[in-house]
């Protein structure tokens, strides 16, 4: 195993992508994810890869679309306003059933918003984002180690299901440094039967396209795609369960909010409040099953988010509103403190025990 190194979350994403065999990066700078592009600019030319700063986010995502059609591992990264610009291209990539990685290191919005951390692109990431019926596989890292590990996993899942993946981080995750062990990835590009890489006059040519003018055909592609989504929902939902064994209350939080919440859960436990946490690791597919199971046991849920309350809707759906779901949040680049989350837990539990 490799030694641990100290890296920013953004740098860990970039290095992990290279380890995973990604040799094509297209992007456009925006705070707080620019270190990804800077890292790629330095490393890619040395290893025979391509770093290209496009003239806009829209160009960058369409370059990703192009490379994805060849079956090679490819990525782009941006932050909230830039990811909005990419949505048309992302919808095309989803419609053409191509694997690719899109990283969103979120900042406060809407509009140009601010540059401090946020989780307010949850809806955009998990409900499609662009036009049409589609999903991305969405992973939410909560440490620098996970920034690296989930970058690799994103490429693998995207390829396995031919569905674009999104790594949904935030400014804190991108900027913070923690020790990280970069795994060696045994990646060998495999022959795929759908790529557009030249036929050598030996086979019928493939077409990568998202245009289907015959409605019967378009309906068929949509239904087929949703069968894959069903398989993803069945097989790929990931979460971390923390102190849930005897919990009477359940905090639900991902990314930086889960880090803050963990402190609060421990503090509440020290006061005798039986609280635990379910941390969604995949936001789509959303880990519905553990939440539905928790709804049979606990008295209430607390959704902790850096948004006005977006994931809370999925918590309510997953638990079928069997128990009350409260919200604890800060927005606009502000981050809840462990004390704020602790107060919300205490309130939910009816005061100290």
């Amino acid at each position: 195993m490799a030694d641990k190194v100290l890296m920013k979350g953004n740098e860990a994403i970039a290095e992990a992508a290279i380890k995973a065999g990604c040799r094509h990066y297209f992007g456009y700078p925006i705070t707080p994810q620019t270190e990804i592009a800077a890292y790629m600019a330095k490393r890619m030319p040395k290893i025979g890869g391509v770093f290209l700063q496009a003239e806009s986010e829209i160009s960058a995502i369409n370059m990703v679309y192009g490379v994805a059609g060849t079956g090679m591992r490819v990525m782009t990264s941006s932050s909230s306003p830039g990811v909005s610009l990419k949505q048309e291209g992302i919808s095309y990539i989803a419609g053409a059933d191509l694997p690719a990685l899109i990283v969103n290191v979120q900042r406060g919005g809407p509009g140009l918003g601010g540059i401090q951390p946020s989780q307010s692109d949850y809806f955009q990431a998990t409900k499609g984002g662009g036009h049409g019926d589609y999903h991305l596989i969405v992973l939410a890292p909560a440490s620098v180690q996970e920034m690296a590990d989930m970058t690799i996993l994103s490429f693998e899942l995207a390829e396995k299901y031919r569905v674009p993946a999104m790594l949904l981080a935030d400014g804190t995750m991108g900027q913070m440094m923690e020790p990280v062990e970069l795994p060696e990835v045994d990646y060998k590009p495999t022959e795929k039967d759908w790529t557009v890489t030249g036929t050598q006059m030996k086979r019928k040519h493939n077409i990568v396209n998202s245009l289907y003018l015959l409605p019967e055909e378009l309906e068929k592609t949509n239904i087929e795609r949703f069968e894959r989504y069903k398989a993803i929902e069945e097989n790929e939902a990931r979460y971390e369960s923390f102190m849930m064994e005897d919990a009477e209350y359940c905090v639900v939080a991902f990314g930086i909010a889960s880090r803050v919440s963990k402190n609060a859960v421990i503090a509440a436990r020290n006061m005798g409040i039986k609280v635990g946490m379910i941390r969604p690791i995949t936001l789509w597919p959303f880990p519905k099953k553990p939440l539905a199971e928790a709804a049979e046991k606990v008295k209430g849920f607390l959704s902790v988010e850096l948004s006005m309350g977006q994931m809370i809707e999925d918590v309510k759906l997953a638990t079928e509103c069997k128990k009350p779901v409260e919200l604890c949040n800060r927005v606009g680049g502000m981050i809840p403190t462990p004390e704020q989350v602790l107060e919300a837990i205490k309130k939910m539990a009816g005061g100290e025990k």
């Binding site: 641990k4 100290l6 705070t31 707080p32 540059i115 401090q116 400014g171 804190t172 900027q175 913070m176 440094m177 923690e178 020790p179 930086i256 880090r259 803050v260 919440s261 963990k262 402190n263 421990i266 981050i335 403190t337 462990p338």
Partner: protein
């Protein structure tokens, strides 16, 4: 043990660099660590700070809102963060640049004229590392062993000529 440290000063004083050194020192000792910089539309001469957590336990929130240790390298930082230090905590003050005294009476305070000392040892940019020497001695958050190993992680090969003077700066603070 967990030590939540906030290092704050002007941009250009090496606040983030000192934090990285501290983080590497902790990491090489097998501690859990996190380092989180303030980031924003900042510039040379503006303010900069970073949160460094050194712990024997896995770290939850990487954000330090109530530090056990505050290292104030300029007056605005002391003004802003003095009240946030936990009772019984420590405040390290660059007494060359900060003329006032700490008002809190429930914390341990160390006044070190790091900017002046840095000039005296011929390394005017290393007040930060002099402060690191004093921090290591007084906080007990990391040991004084093998400074070279941690330093070699943060002083790049290109700046190898700065290695010895960094060590000297740390010693100067440690022995002050």
């Amino acid at each position: 043990m967990t030590t939540n440290t906030l290092i704050a000063g002007f941009g250009g004083q090496g606040v983030l660099f000192a934090g990285k050194f501290m983080a590497y020192k902790g990491m090489l000792e097998g501690k859990e660590i996190s380092w989180l910089p303030s980031y924003g539309p900042e510039m040379r001469g503006g303010t900069a700070n970073c949160s460094v957590i050194l712990s024997d336990e896995p770290i939850g929130s990487p954000i330090v809102s109530n530090p056990d240790v505050l290292i104030a390298m300029n007056l605005p930082s002391l003004d802003k963060y003095e009240d946030l230090v936990v009772p019984g905590g420590m405040i390290f003050v660059d007494s060359t640049l900060i003329e006032r005294k700490v008002e809190r009476t429930d914390v341990k305070v160390f006044y070190i004229p790091t900017t002046k000392l840095a000039q005296e040892i011929g390394a005017p940019t290393l007040a930060n590392m002099i402060m690191m020497g004093k921090f290591i001695k007084e906080s007990g958050a990391v040991t004084h062993d093998d400074m070279e190993a941690a330093l070699s992680k943060v002083v790049s090969a290109k700046r190898a000529d700065m290695f010895e003077i960094n060590l000297k700066a740390i010693d100067t603070g440690y022995n002050y």
